[in-house]
């Protein structure tokens, strides 16, 4: 479980607070999407969750963040990384090896995973993101999207309790993006992993996550179940968040008095909404 209590953080040399008075509780098995416009503090929030802030990126840190009861200020990032896996936005910068297999082995070896289990985990992680064929390839020969999948596989192989991903589908095509989210969903449902994902593709995110957190100007603007957050579509638009079209449609139908039901979050609920409107 992750608890953030009244967290404020300002990078050393920064002019404004990157995060300001944040309160958030993330339970085991949660699947959370974090959205917000650029500079709202999304990436900083991911750094807080894996201990990079305040250990690597220093600054003024107020409040308290605990992960599984451990205070992130007092615990070294490598200890935190035993249960928090991280996929960063800048994929190239966060590669540590030259070959795909080595990239995956790096973490597995470091965490002293038993040798007889390593092969299974390698095969499973590569297969999960659909890149089994790339196992012996050099990273320099891969496309951006393929590298992104390698980065995700490298974290999956470690089977952490919590996975934090910062725009994991930034360089992926629509089909691969969906594939990544399907994998995350499976990990969440089958293994009970807690997934926290920062993503710009709001529509895709809403289909998969259980809760949404919207950041604006270093603060949490709204937070809750996907439908609850999307209901405030006018507010979201003001914040610069790209609201899914079906949500906008529902809003318009509601304004015109055609629809009174729940805000649709995926195609299925959108279909139900349209059927209801047609019937009326």
């Amino acid at each position: 479980m992750i608890t953030i209590e009244d967290l404020s953080f300002q990078y050393a040399g920064g002019k404004h607070a990157a995060l300001s008075h944040l309160d958030l509780q993330i339970n085991d098995g949660d699947f959370i999407g974090i959205i917000g416009n650029s500079g709202a503090g999304k990436s900083t929030l991911t750094y807080v969750l894996n201990g990079v802030v305040p250990h690597h990126y220093t600054g003024d840190f107020y409040g308290r963040v605990t992960i599984n009861g451990l205070d992130t200020v007092e615990t070294f990032p490598e200890k935190i990384s035993e249960f928090v896996g991280s996929v960063f936005q800048d994929i190239d910068g966060h590669m540590v090896a030259s070959m795909v297999e080595d990239e995956l082995l790096f973490g597995l070896e470091n965490f002293n995973v038993p040798h007889e289990e390593i092969e299974n985990r390698l095969v499973w992680a590569l297969k999960s993101v659909g890149i089994s064929a790339l196992r012996y390839r050099a990273l320099s020969t891969l496309s951006g999207g393929q590298k992104q999948k390698v980065a995700i596989a490298a974290v999956l192989a470690l089977r952490p309790q919590i996975i934090v991903l910062d725009e994991p589908t930034g360089e992926l095509d629509p089909q691969s993006s969906r594939q990544v989210f399907e994998v995350l969903k499976e990990l969440n449902e089958r293994y009970g992993m807690t997934i926290i994902v920062v993503e710009q593709k709001v529509m895709l995110l809403c289909e998969f996550v259980k809760r949404l957190v919207v950041l604006e100007h270093a603060k949490i603007a709204c937070e809750g179940k996907v439908e609850e957050v999307l209901e405030q579509s006018a507010k979201l638009k003001d914040m610069g968040v790209n609201v899914p079209r079906i949500v906008s449609l529902a809003e318009k139908l509601r304004q015109d008095g055609f629809y009174r039901g729940k805000t649709p979050v995926d195609l299925k609920s959108a279909e139900a909404m349209i059927r209801e409107v047609m019937k009326a």
């Binding site: 894996n50 990384s81 190239d92 540590v96 030259s98 790096f106 597995l108 002293n112 470690l158």
Partner: protein, 257 residues
């Protein structure tokens, strides 16, 4: 990217040798060059290098390296020959510059050594994956992983930084800077300011690499953490035997006059 230090994928017998054997052979070839003062033996060592290149499917790379090294060797040769004044004078040039037989012999030996001692190291890096190299250094020789990681990362960064430099240059070209000049000094003057953005992006990259390594348990690694095993096989012993023979020959063969 065709860097001289990149791994060339393959499945030749040289690729399949134990990484430690490959290090040994390349070191032995280097040492043999310096132990022997026999020009022919050193030429034979260059020949052995080329043979190994051909057998491992890295002949193109070997020839390219030979070409680059030869160019450098010619410069070294000229510098050497002009400054050695011992031995019988073969030619007397203006400004009291002498070309002597000892100078000629030594300069030639020096250049051959330079070529023959560099080639095996490059060949070794071409047929050995960096990770195998470091794994074997850690598991068999007990060198701390931190040091080997520094080595692999440094080598890994060479093509990355050169690609970064190309990016920066392309960005400049797109804005009208003309790098297409034959004037060396003018080119340097154009390239020098680009070092700043390159330095900044390099530092950023190293920083994020450090975070990534730390978050994947870099500090938790132990000596026996390595997954891949590197047993010695018959062909490794044969290769080592060959190395010993070469060293003995190198010390026994008299100097070529």
């Amino acid at each position: 990217m065709g860097g001289f230090l990149d791994y060339v994928p393959g499945d030749s017998w040289l690729h399949r040798l134990n990484p430690l054997t490959k290090i040994m052979i390349s070191l032995v070839l280097c040492v043999a060059c310096f132990l022997s003062a026999n020009h022919i033996l050193i030429l034979i060592i260059i020949g052995i290098n080329l043979c190994m290149g051909a057998l491992s499917g890295t002949m193109n790379r070997s020839l390219r390296i030979l070409e680059v090294l030869s160019k450098l060797a010619i410069i070294l040769f000229i510098v050497q020959i002009l400054f050695i004044r011992d031995g019988n004078i073969l030619l007397q040039l203006p400004f009291n510059i002498l070309i002597t037989d000892a100078g000629l012999s030594f300069s030639l030996l020096f250049c051959l050594r330079f070529i023959a001692a560099t080639m095996p190291l490059v060949l070794m890096l071409s047929v050995t994956q960096m990770s195998d190299l470091t794994n074997v250094l850690v598991s068999k020789l007990g060198i701390p992983y931190k040091y080997t990681f520094v080595l692999t990362t440094a080598i890994r960064f060479i093509p990355i930084f050169s690609a970064e430099m190309t990016n920066i240059m392309e960005a400049q070209i797109a804005r009208g800077v003309d790098f297409d000049t034959r004037n060396f000094f003018k080119k340097i003057r154009l390239l020098l300011p680009l070092c700043v953005p390159l330095l900044i992006s390099s530092v950023k990259r190293i920083d994020s690499g450090a975070i990534a390594a730390e978050l994947r348990g870099f500090n938790l690694r132990k000596r026996n953490s390595g997954y891949r095993q590197y047993p010695f096989k018959k062909k490794d012993l044969l290769a080592l035997l060959f190395s010993v023979v070469l060293i003995v020959v190198a010390t026994q063969v008299p100097a070529f006059i």
